[in-house]
């Protein structure tokens, strides 16, 4: 009984802490806006679902299915990064020490934190479902059926909520996965889970894969084929053929076998909780220190430690007090903290000169290089959090902080890309310009999101998502081809990315000014 009360108390406190954050409201508004984009006005030529060229009729079932699908994707990615600080917060505030000095059991605490994640994401999703229901009154072509919404959300989103909550607490508990390496690793886990969902739609072992399908896409596809005899359909702002009669979607079927497979998909992630409890160090300072040391054993940290000597000469570079010197100083600090960047620059330079195929360099090597660059510059403007007073005592740092950070990130990016840039400048100047614009675009985004959110996670997750779309889009959409990787480089596109970089830099400056006025 006491354990239940303690668990309820942790869940309640975690929910309050998260729901009262401004960032929660911002993310909620973002998701709600995405839902409105996702369900466009049919007169625009786009619709929520497209089936055989026809648009879907906007009834409760169609809007519930479409928005719930978006929710599962959003929860799995953004939701994870939002809730993956449950233990970190207790460690940073040292409230964890107090928890450790109580009779709370490790498994009990981890389970409570998991439930805290789940409760928050569920409340968040419930709010989003209400917004989606409201869309019936604006764009609906049939009456509101609340139960249909609840059924579709439970059916599709519940496993995603459980899986994301369980993975978040597991990644936080396992020392190897609890840092920035884990943040990047999770993105690829998420991609893997989406691939599993795709794999479970057809082929060998489909039913087994459906058991870990957090998206519900597998069962959704199977039902579409079985009930509506559809081999393909599209969800999410799809173009349709005007003049064709709308397709009436009457909703998914919630038969015992289908519900059972979703219940299993929502239960399987619970197996992660004991694993998380096993690795949980109960805030023991000796073990957390040891964990931190072990965390340094993941490949990137291990390499950076081994390469520390490479960065030593950087400290001897004489720098003055001028603004360019300050920029160089900040960029050097990035390389000193992550000397792997020096190796990456050399490897890229050699590869750029050795490769015979410039197209291969642009579309193959450079996108991969940007994943590394993003990890390098992600914390450029958030790493100073505890040193701002010290920095502000240096000439000009306070007033020029934003431009300093943007310039430093660009310098780091351009240094790493120096070899490919040189090669492109010789053979395809437009491509070189597009790459430079991409460098500025990513650098400004990292600075803006770092200043606004005060941590590198938001940038990393948004960049990786954007990057994933870019690589899969293969240049079909100009708005995703940020480094001019695919097809012929278009100067107008490069100019647009450079402009976007300038806008983001200006936004970062505005956010910084507001923060200074508020806090300093």
């Amino acid at each position: 009984m006491n354990a239940a009360r303690r668990i309820a108390s942790v869940v309640h406190a975690d929910a309050l802490i998260r729901l009262r954050r401004t960032s929660t409201l911002v993310i909620f508004l973002l998701l709600s806006w995405l839902a409105w984009v996702w369900v466009p006005e049919p007169s625009s030529g786009f619709a929520l679902m497209q089936i055989g060229g026809a648009r879907v009729l906007y009834n409760s079932a169609a809007i519930a299915l479409g928005t719930a699908s978006l929710a599962t994707v959003f929860i799995g990615l953004v939701g994870y990064y939002v809730v993956s600080n449950a233990l970190k917060r207790d460690l940073e505030t040292r409230a964890g020490f107090i928890v450790a000095s109580t009779t709370v059991r490790n498994l009990e605490y981890i389970f409570a934190k998991f439930l805290g994640n789940l409760a928050f994401l569920t409340i968040f999703t419930f709010g989003y479902m209400l917004v989606s229901m409201a869309m019936i009154f604006v764009r609906g072509e049939a009456g509101l059926e609340p139960l249909v919404f609840v059924q579709h959300y439970l059916f599709l989103a519940a496993p995603a909520l459980v899986m994301t909550s369980a993975l978040a607490i597991t990644f936080e508990s396992v020392p190897f996965l609890s840092g920035r390496f884990g943040d990047v690793a999770y993105f690829f886990v998420w991609i893997g889970l989406l691939s599993l969902a795709a794999g479970s739609i057809a082929g060998e072992g489909a039913s087994a894969l459906a058991m870990v399908d957090m998206t519900g896409f597998a069962v959704m596809s199977a039902q579409m084929k079985e009930i509506y005899n559809l081999d393909s359909f599209g969800i999410g702002r799809m173009a349709f053929e005007a003049g064709t009669d709308p397709f009436t979607f009457n909703g998914l079927r919630f038969g015992a076998a289908d519900v059972f497979s979703r219940v299993i998909a929502a239960t399987v992630p619970l197996l992660l909780i004991p694993v998380a409890a096993f690795f949980f160090r109960r805030f023991d300072p000796a073990k957390v220190k040891a964990s931190a040391a072990r965390q340094g054993r993941h490949p990137i940290a291990w390499l950076n430690r081994r390469l520390k000597g490479l960065a030593a000469p950087l400290a001897r570079i004489p720098l003055g007090a001028s603004f360019p010197s300050q920029v160089a100083n900040d960029a050097l600090l990035t390389f000193q903290l992550a000397p792997l960047g020096i190796v990456a620059a050399v490897v890229l330079a050699v590869a750029a000169m050795a490769t015979g195929d410039v197209e291969g360099l642009r579309s193959g090597l450079l996108p991969v290089a940007f994943v590394f660059i993003a990890a390098m510059i992600a914390d450029g403007s958030s790493r100073d959090a505890h040193m701002l007073a010290l920095l502000f005592s240096t000439p000009g740092a306070r007033a020029r902080y934003t431009i300093l950070k943007v310039s430093s990130a660009i310098l780091v990016t351009v240094t790493i890309l120096a070899g490919p840039l040189a090669r492109l400048a010789l053979e395809d100047r437009r491509a070189a310009l597009a790459l430079l614009a991409g460098a500025a675009f990513v650098s400004s985004a990292a600075t803006l999101l770092g200043i606004v959110t005060r941590n590198p996670k938001a940038f990393l997750v948004l960049f990786l998502l954007y990057w994933y779309v870019t690589v899969n889009d293969q240049g079909a959409t100009a708005a995703f081809n940020f480094g001019g990787f695919f097809g012929e480089a278009v100067p107008m596109h490069a100019a647009a990315f450079a402009g976007a970089a300038a806008v983001m830099a200006a936004a970062a400056w505005g956010a910084w000014k507001a923060r200074l006025a508020r806090e300093w």
């Binding site: 006491n2 009360r5 303690r6 309820a8 108390s9 942790v10 309640h12 406190a13 309050l16 802490i17 009262r20 954050r21 917060r89 940073e92 505030t93 040292r94 409230a95 020490f97 107090i98 928890v99 450790a100 000095s101 109580t102 009779t103 709370v104 109960r282 805030f283 023991d284 300072p285 000796a286 073990k287 220190k289 040891a290 040391a293």
Partner: protein, 290 residues
């Protein structure tokens, strides 16, 4: 009540946080005194069952706390060093959270604690807007919520203004009557008026454990005061450990420790706890022959 038997804490790499420390304490206020890095926090974390000794035992009322941590945890209140808060919770919500974790259901107890630390008037305000002193008071309220028999407070006055320090000291002094309070600090004035016992630590080891009077007594005959010209003060400082100095019109009124008569004109002074602590931390260098 609390017995520490040859306890050591050794970290990876061989560094000792605490080395072979033994101590027995009963009810009252134990001041744990030592410079930064002396091992006070590590010792307190071991007593609070947050980390385990690598060797030795800690017994609370004859029970080994490493084997039966819950026996102590049910009766423990702990306020860690640099204690933070969940900014978005109100003081009441914050306290209720820890009350639930400690199995306390009585709402009246929460109100009573908030009143004791003088936060009842702001109990519905988010703690993110609290001053350092208010946060520490909230911290002591959560530590006391389960009416503990053992209260551990680690550097509780760090960052507090003088008025808050006095207020905090008075709260702890009142609490010491019926329980054991262990208070760590490197500031002698934090404990000189409230501690019934003092344990002095240096480099992970216990240097002395005694009553404040006994600690001061061992400094008798080794504390001196003199008025020296300001031009000679630097030389005095190089020869002796100075515990206090006030610059006046007739020169610098200096107070310092020395195991022998330092020079003609220096008068023996009655030692206080600050002098005794200084002496324990740094045995006085013999005066260089003039």
């Amino acid at each position: 009540m609390l017995t520490i038997e040859s306890v050591s804490k050794r970290y990876r790499g061989g560094h000792f946080g605490v080395r072979d420390l033994s101590l027995t304490v009963e009810r009252g206020v134990l001041g744990l005194l030592g410079a930064n890095g002396a091992g006070k926090t590590t010792l307190m974390q071991m007593i609070a069952t947050i980390t385990r000794p690598t060797s030795g035992r800690i017994l609370f009322e004859e029970e080994d706390i490493a084997k039966k941590p819950d026996a102590l945890r049910r009766r423990l209140g702990y306020l860690p060093q640099d204690f933070g808060v969940y900014d978005n919770l109100t003081a009441f919500e914050f306290l209720r959270y820890f009350a639930a974790l400690k199995g306390v259901r009585d709402r009246a107890r929460l109100d009573q604690m908030l009143e004791m630390v003088n936060l009842h008037g702001v109990s519905n305000r988010p703690v993110g807007g609290f001053s350092g002193g208010m946060r520490q008071r909230l911290g002591i309220a959560q530590a006391l919520i389960n009416d503990p028999d053992l209260l551990i407070v680690d550097e509780p006055t760090a960052g507090l203004d003088p008025e808050e320090r006095v207020r905090f000291r008075n709260i702890l002094s009142d609490l010491g009557g019926k329980r054991l309070v262990i208070l760590s600090t490197h500031i002698v004035s934090d404990i000189e008026s409230i501690a019934t016992g003092i344990a002095v630590m240096r480099e992970g080891s216990l240097v002395m454990h005694a009553t404040p009077e006994e600690i001061m007594r061992q400094a008798e005959g080794k504390v001196w005061q003199a008025i020296v010209p300001s031009t000679d003060f630097d030389e005095l400082r190089t020869r002796h450990r100075v515990s206090g100095a006030v610059r006046k019109s007739d020169g610098v009124h200096a107070r310092f420790v020395s195991s022998t008569t330092p020079f003609a004109g220096a008068r023996a002074a009655e030692p206080d706890l600050e002098d005794a602590f200084l002496l324990l931390m740094n045995p006085p260098p013999e005066a260089v022959a003039a």
